[in-house]
Amino acid sequence: MKRLLDILGQGFAYFLFALGIGYFASQPTYHPFGEDQALVKLAISHPGQRIHPCTERAIDHQRNIPKTARKLMDCPRERHPVTVQLKINGKTVFEAVSEPSGLSNDGRSLFYERFPVPAGSHEVLVQLYEAETATGAQYKFAQKIELKPGEIAVVGFDPTTKSIYFK
């Protein structure tokens, strides 16, 4: 009788453990995003302008360098930080300055942000400044977009066409 009770007790303990595992392995359901919302993702990876422009190396200087290492131009690596501004329906939702990546500050400036917006029609304006000294945005993109519920729209920069895209 005691053995039977022990087995039943063990079974009950296993049942409770399985119940806990089974339930919390998938419940309760989580809603990370509203059903009537859409998402705008800003994902720009773009190098800023060089801080110092390239200059031609003097011929005398070239003579002191082995032939295989000779370069006609001297291009300091450092780049300006890049500024990106995003306006949705006339309201600035994002404006940030990103330092160049890399130990020598010569890499791309990186931007990645998400903006949940209600589904529907929106005016989007993106402006990109390659240097903080620039008077105006080097790249600009403005478009009226129509987003369905749950749709993801990506704002990026295409280096081949050198333009901001939206898809």
Binding site: Q27, L39, A43
Partner: protein, 523 residues
């Protein structure tokens, strides 16, 4: 302060464990095998993972379909294996955290145990990295949600040339190459987890990494039943053009993700790192005051290696002898990992109270509580027994330890008590000494609960010494019916009282040296 936190928690935990003791018994009680169960779940995950991998297609477009096919077309094998893979992973999280909590509550994480405790922290990180990485591979909506959130969380560190999240902007940006990398991570990280698990137990002598067979079978049957009743299934296929609005999260692994959504990556990193540092710091908050380490007496150590075999923390090693005595080796104690439990003293063949010398010197001894003090304490306790007891009332001496039942609370007139750091410190010759010299009628040994000795093996070794399975044995001439054991936790005082009453009655029925039972002698 720390004791004020631990004691009430201990009371709750011990109560809970007591409930488990009833059906499972001390040997199978799952709460005493949490570390071993975690290992066991790891192996189930590994084996089921190998099976699932055979049918898994490593590509963005093929992964989801291959998992679906495995789950539905091959539910009796692939489906069950997939469920095993998921539920055993979840169970591993549960047992790991309870294991950690239990070690904290029972104060088994400080002192020499600090390394084991601290090495558990990377295990938790690797466990989570392994588990979450597995969810990515299904490439369903849950995978999409977890993948993007994970990459955004990692991107916050700014250590990647391009944001990882850029790989998941559109369906076209997620390549098979990236998918192969994810699969590689899901194989490599669990291997690191396994290495971390072995590092975790490397400083423990005889670590329990396998649960008892009965518990292992029961656990496997439980997983099988769960896999049949509620098989693991996928969400809809991932679509990077659409945002995921609803997910059935695995809360054991993904609890942090809603927090990430609410508070952002920076806050979550702060929480994760602060918690990790805090947990690593706990063993020194405050640190455990350990008494002086055991000392070896060169003249009395004959290199028998019993202390080496019995030390629960591997603090005793055998070294080549250099003092010219005719024994090949000598015991050596590493004071940094000695807990001063005295189990080595209990194992030493020179530790006998029969010696006539006033000052007992043993091969290995505790500087703060020498064997000679144990004999003096024993004699002093026995001297407290009333000269005249009610007729037939047996005289009993109880040996208790510092971590088990509180023997000081015993107030019976016919009972005296002596405390030791661990019951494993008691050489069996002390029982011989007491009974054969008629200093008492019975000896009752108590300690922690069975299978839960604070010093790991004090109870095991004591029982094996009593039954003659382990050196030093209790001599055959000692009447076994006059030696009882009662294993229990600090909260089991009532159990000891019941046991004393039963032992008293039992001894009353035994024949005395005169040949009459205590009862008969009384009459």
């Amino acid at each position: 302060m720390l004791k004020n936190i631990q004691r009430p928690l201990q009371a709750v935990l011990l109560k809970f464990e007591g409930w488990f003791d009833r059906p499972f018994g001390p040997e199978w009680n799952p709460l005493r095998h949490l570390g071993a169960l975690s290992f066991y779940f790891f192996w189930i995950v590994a084996v089921s993972g190998i099976y699932v991998y055979i049918f898994f297609e490593t590509s963005v477009t093929g992964a989801f379909q291959s998992v679906e096919s495995m789950t539905h077309d091959q539910w009796y094998a692939g489906g069950i294996m997939r469920s095993f893979h998921r539920y055993a992973s979840d169970a591993m999280v549960v047992t790991t955290f309870i294991h950690m909590g239990r070690e904290f509550i029972m104060d088994r994480y400080r002192g020499v145990r600090w390394f084991t405790w601290v090495s558990g922290v990377p295990i938790i990180w690797l466990l989570y990295a392994s588990g979450i990485g597995g969810y990515w591979l299904v490439w369903d909506e849950l995978a999409q949600y977890l993948m993007i959130a994970s990459s955004e969380w990692l991107d916050w560190l700014g250590i990647f040339g391009e944001p990882l999240a850029n790989n998941f902007l559109t369906p076209a940006s997620f390549s098979d190459r990236m998918f192969s990398l994810l699969l590689f991570l899901h194989i490599a990280i669990p291997l690191f987890l396994l290495i971390a698990c072995f590092v975790h137990v490397v400083k423990i002598s005889r670590p329990r990494i396998n649960p008892p067979r009965g518990l292992a079978i029961g656990t496997l049957l439980m997983l099988l039943a769960l896999s049949l009743v509620k098989p693991a299934i996928s969400h809809g296929p991932a679509n990077l053009d659409k945002v995921v609005t609803t997910v059935d999260l695995d809360w054991y692994y993904a609890l942090a993700y809603p927090l990430f959504d609410m508070w952002g990556a920076g806050a979550l990193w702060l929480i994760a790192i602060t918690l990790s540092v805090f947990v690593c710091w706990l063993p020194w908050m405050p640190s455990l005051k350990i008494k002086e380490a055991a000392e070896v007496d060169n003249l009395n150590c004959n290199g028998c290696s019993r202390c080496y075999a019995d030390c629960p923390f591997g603090a005793v090693t055998m070294q080549p002898r250099t003092d010219g005595r005719p024994y090949p080796s000598i015991a050596s104690v590493d004071p940094d990992i000695c807990t001063s439990c005295g189990i080595c003293v209990g194992a030493c063949p020179t530790a006998t109270p029969f010696r006539s010398a006033d000052m007992l010197v043993t091969g290995i001894d505790l500087p703060h509580f020498r064997l000679t003090e144990l004999r003096a304490d024993t004699d002093a306790s026995l001297a407290k027994l009333p000269k005249i007891l009610p007729p037939g009332t047996p005289r009993i001496i109880i040996y208790g330890c510092d971590f088990g039942i509180d023997v000081e609370q015993i107030k019976d007139a016919n009972v005296v008590v002596t405390r030791l750091p661990c019951i494993g410190m008691l050489p069996p010759s002390f029982i011989d000494y007491i009974l054969m010299r008629d200093k008492a009628d019975g000896v009752l040994l108590t300690g922690c609960r069975e299978g839960d000795c604070y010093h790991r093996f004090g109870i095991n070794w004591t029982e094996q010494r009593l039954t003659g399975e382990r050196d030093p044995y209790l001599r055959e001439r000692v009447p076994r019916e006059r030696v009882w054991t009662c294993w229990g936790a600090v909260t089991d005082g009532a159990k000891l009282s019941d046991e004393i009453a039963a032992f008293t009655e039992h001894l009353r029925q035994l024949p005395h040296v005169s040949g009459k039972t205590g009862q008969e002698a009384a009459e």
